[in-house]
């Protein structure tokens, strides 16, 4: 190994946000040239904040940053880029109507007089892509790319701007196993060419596979730097949460009851005329967790929206507890005891400046226990807030603070409290643990299994294959709006098998898929 040269060091970083949240409490962090350095920690531990500070998006309240030994104040992302720092955000920052090359050169266009020298740009992009073996056509429009390819564009963008330090924020969250493997190869190649990579991830197996060293953050403080080879996944997990977490999900055999949701030949046509859902049929039964695996954008979102009344469907039928719901609105469906944990808790699942209590009540304020003749019962509401915060272990000063002062995991627990306290028959859980820390994930999993054990039906949509495999009793794989595979027993399959069906490489026979309708 080459000499360990420190390229970036952060000392005693403290960050207090304007809502009073102290995200970093004196973190020390340092990385060497030519390493892949993992940054792990629970959500709300302060990782994202630390990275935003490196990239100049946030200013530290106190503390120093040294780049190549030189004390630096990074006032803006522009300056960070100039200093050779590049960031690949979890949510891509690309203009989808432009080509790959246009996106890469955006803001740093090579010019010829007053015109953009497109030919030169395309050539440059091709060269970089080839150099690092990233197979991508610079003339393609970004909207036509897969998620994995879009990520490559983001990496190219950073490289094109001369980044020497690359920050990747949970890059594998949206990738299939095959795409992840490809990404890892590219990252290793970049490392070997002298680039330094900061890899933020919750996925400990990935950290083990890819990274050289790891910094673990808990509650805004660094828990130490370790050589990845010398620590086990269990060690890392323990350091992250400060206690033993059961990584394997434990559950008993399911006791299946009668059908609660029956979807027959459901068809949904999107705004662009594309069939988002194409003659989809399945049924969900009491006492089972049915997992839906699939690469995002294969109809899962539309299916969830149709099931919860947020979207109308074009053909086919959905019966919930025997009632056809094509004429039902959201409220009617909620009355059928359907709970919905939405994919995006901040845009759909919460009203950010209302209090935690108000957020947990939004769907049931008109019920008799909280109001009479339209006038709210303050005492009952206050008590409900206190009870829920306790029962769902929501960490907060009190239930009356606005919900946006909480960390992601705690907001998700509040969403869970709202949705599960209705005594639902059916729970539609869309990415229930996305961006949520290990502790909260475990809590949410236990709650869902508990629901299933109490004869509730759970429909789990998740892009985390570990979660789908671990939690589900049976699994559907969705591909291009259809069911590509159905596995009646989730215990009998592996991630890699699922991957093949998710990418559309494999497809089960009609007979096998028909099983999912359970003879109807």
């Amino acid at each position: 190994m080459e000499a360990k040269r420190e390229v970036l060091r952060m000392e005693n970083i403290v960050k207090v946000y304007s809502n009073g949240v102290m995200a970093n409490k004196g973190i020390n962090f340092s990385i060497n040239a030519g390493e892949i350095h993992a940054l792990s920690g629970e959500n709300g531990a302060g990782k994202s904040t630390l990275m935003k500070i490196i990239f100049g998006e946030e200013q530290p309240t106190s503390g120093d940053i040294y780049i190549n030994g030189q004390k630096t104040v990074i006032t803006s992302p522009q300056l960070a880029i100039k200093l050779g720092i590049g960031m690949v955000h979890q949510h891509f920052m690309l203009v989808s109507s432009m080509t790959v090359a246009e996106n890469v050169i955006l803001g740093v266009e090579p010019t010829k007089g007053i015109l953009i020298n497109m030919k030169h740009a395309i050539k440059q992009v091709e060269e970089i892509a080839e150099k690092y073996n990233m197979n991508i056509n610079p003339k393609m429009k970004v909207e036509d790319l897969t998620v994995g390819q879009k990520q490559k564009v983001e990496i190219l963008k950073a490289l094109f701007r001369g980044a020497k330090i690359l920050i990747l924020d949970e890059p594998t969250a949206v990738l299939t196993p095959q795409e992840t493997t490809e990404l890892f190869e590219e990252l290793k190649r970049l490392r070997d060419s002298g680039y330094t990579i900061i890899f933020i991830s919750h996925k400990l197996n990935e950290v083990k596979e890819l990274c050289n060293r790891i910094t673990i953050i808990r509650h805004g403080k660094s828990m130490g730097v370790y050589d990845v080879k010398t620590v086990t996944e269990q060690d890392i997990s323990n350091l992250m949460v400060g206690r033993d977490v059961i990584l394997n999900i434990e559950k008993s055999a399911p006791k299946i009851g009668k059908t609660t949701i029956r979807v027959s030949d459901l068809t949904i046509i999107g705004e662009n005329g594309k069939h988002c859902i194409n003659r989809l049929s399945f049924s969900l039964r009491e006492g089972e967790i049915l997992g839906i695996a699939g690469v995002e954008g294969n109809g899962q979102l539309e299916l969830v929206e149709a099931l919860t009344g947020l979207r109308k469907y074009n053909a086919g039928s959905i019966e919930i507890c025997g009632k056809e719901i094509s004429q039902c609105n959201v409220k009617d469906i909620r009355k059928l005891a359907v709970s919905h944990i939405p994919e995006d808790r901040m845009t759909t699942g919460a009203a950010p400046s209302l209090s935690i209590t108000e957020n947990m009540l939004s769907d049931k304020i008109s019920s008799n226990s909280f109001s009479k003749h339209g006038i709210i019962n303050k005492r009952a509401i206050k008590q409900y807030g206190i009870d829920m915060v306790k029962q769902y272990q929501i960490l907060c000063k009190n239930p009356d603070v606005s919900i946006d002062s909480l960390s992601g995991g705690n907001i998700q627990k509040a969403v869970l409290a709202r949705e599960l306290s209705n005594n639902p028959k059916i729970i539609i859980a869309d990415q229930p643990t996305r961006g949520v820390d290990v502790g909260a994930t475990e809590f949410i999993h236990k709650r869902l299994i508990n629901m299933r054990d109490n004869k509730k039906s759970v429909l789990l949509i998740s892009s985390d294959l570990n979660e789908v495999l671990g939690l589900s009793d049976s699994i559907i794989v969705m591909h291009e709006g259809r069911i590509a595979a159905y596995f009646p027993d989730a215990a009998k399959i592996t991630e890699l098998q699922l991957g093949g069906y998710m990418l559309g490489i494999e497809k089960q026979s009609e007979e096998e898929i028909k099983e999912v309708r359970h003879g109807q």
């Binding site: 207090v16 304007s18 809502n19 009073g20 949240v21 102290m22 409490k25 309240t61 509650h219 805004g220 403080k221 400060g242 919860t308 947020l310 609105n329 959201v330 409220k331 469906i333 909620r334 919905h340 939405p342 845009t347 759909t348 699942g349 919460a350 009203a351 950010p352 400046s353 209302l354 108000e358 009540l361 939004s362 769907d363 304020i365 008109s366 909280f370 109001s371 339209g374 006038i375 709210i376 303050k378 000063k397 009190n398 603070v401 002062s405």
Partner: protein, 362 residues
């Protein structure tokens, strides 16, 4: 109380004080620059409103219409809408009350009540137009309400000029209101009328509606995140429309109360602009209906001061418009005092972290 809340209140109050001080400073500056007798102008502006019972009464009278329009603005803003219709709704309310007061014979006591209810209904009807246009065709309520305000203003003046005009008068004025329709004065020596009581009651009712009813909670949920409200099973468009209708009714009743309390004829040739001042009052009151009377009184004080100054000195009353503009800017300026606020938050967070330090290090 939790420290964030305390800090927010301290900062808000300080901001308000600074806003008022800057406004006053600005008046001083304008007066010093333009007046040949600044001392007289100052005392007229700042002290003038308190020199007689009648003038103190004037403050309250000036505050009265602003309470109604401010409540309307709060209703609309709380639902996350930006309709500017309170201006038009107020003016159509004056027209509605005028029509009942001049043309419908009713016994005393009942007459003003009917007139104000009609005024409210007409205000609600006007406010319904931009709301429905948005619900049906996603037309921006900002644009439609602003345009509609002109339509309403000219419609009202047309109605007065062609159907209710006092022929014998040389300037534009409606025929005289019937005696039975006039709102009684409640404090002798002033023109403080029953309308102000209605205003205060409506402040309390609006507060109750927003913070103590299921409708209010749904409304605030819609205002905060409409997508979330929809997901929760709340009928979002319905709430948006109802909030604007209620706002229109509030502003319309304000128009009715104002014209029946202060005048015996409809004499405006252009809208008095209480709808706009209502926005300032709503901002000053931090969207809290219970704070509206205070904020309205403050605006009333400024208006009365400016009028007295205009009469007694060589500075014109338009100064108040400048003050209003500055106040809107300062209240809307998020960055004002931000650094100071951040410092306090940092301190509080650090001391809390210090207290819990052992737990964190565990």
């Amino acid at each position: 109380m939790d420290s964030n809340k305390r800090i927010r209140i301290i900062v808000d109050i300080t901001k308000l004080i600074i806003t008022i001080l800057v406004s006053c400073g600005l008046v001083t500056l304008i007066v010093l620059v333009t007046s040949s007798d600044p001392v007289n102008a100052f005392s007229s502006f700042f002290l003038g409103p308190f020199t007689s019972v009648r003038r103190i009464g004037n403050i309250v009278e000036a505050a009265s219409p602003l309470m109604f329009t401010a409540l309307a603005v709060i209703m609309i803003f709380s639902a996350g809408q930006f309709s500017m219709i309170s201006e038009g709704a107020f003016f159509i309310g004056t027209l509605g009350a005028m029509m009942i007061a001049t043309s419908v014979p009713l016994p005393a006591g009942i007459h003003p009540i009917v007139a104000i209810l009609v005024a409210g209904a007409m205000g609600a009807a006007v406010a319904l137009i931009p709301a429905v246009l948005k619900m049906k065709w996603q037309v921006s309520e900002v644009v439609t309400s602003l345009m509609l305000n002109y339509v309403v203003q000219f419609f009202a003046i047309y109605m007065v000029s062609y159907h209710f005009r006092e022929i014998s008068s040389s300037s534009l004025a409606s025929i005289e209101f019937k005696d039975t329709s006039i709102l009684p004065v409640i404090i002798r020596g002033t023109r403080i009328h029953l309308g102000i009581v209605l205003g205060v009651i409506l402040c309390i009712i609006t507060y109750f509606l927003l913070y103590r009813t299921t409708f209010g909670m749904k409304l605030r949920t819609v205002g905060n995140n409409a997508k979330f409200a929809h997901y929760s099973g709340i009928k979002v468009t319905g709430i948006m429309v109802i909030s604007q209708v209620i706002a229109g009714a509030l502003a319309g009743m304000g128009g009715g109360a104002e014209i029946l309390g202060m005048y015996n004829r409809f004499k405006w040739t252009t809208s008095p602009g209480y709808g706009w001042s209502g926005i300032v009052v709503a901002l000053l009151a931090r969207d809290n209906p219970l704070m509206v009377p205070l904020a309205a009184l403050f605006m009333g004080y400024l208006n009365v001061g400016a009028n007295i100054m205009a009469r007694n000195s060589d500075v014109s009353s338009e100064v108040v418009q400048i003050i209003q503009g500055v106040m809107i800017l300062m209240i809307a300026a998020e960055a004002l005092l931000k650094k100071w606020k951040q410092k306090m938050i940092v301190k509080a967070a650090k001391s809390e972290a210090g207290m819990k330090g052992d737990v964190i290090n565990d």
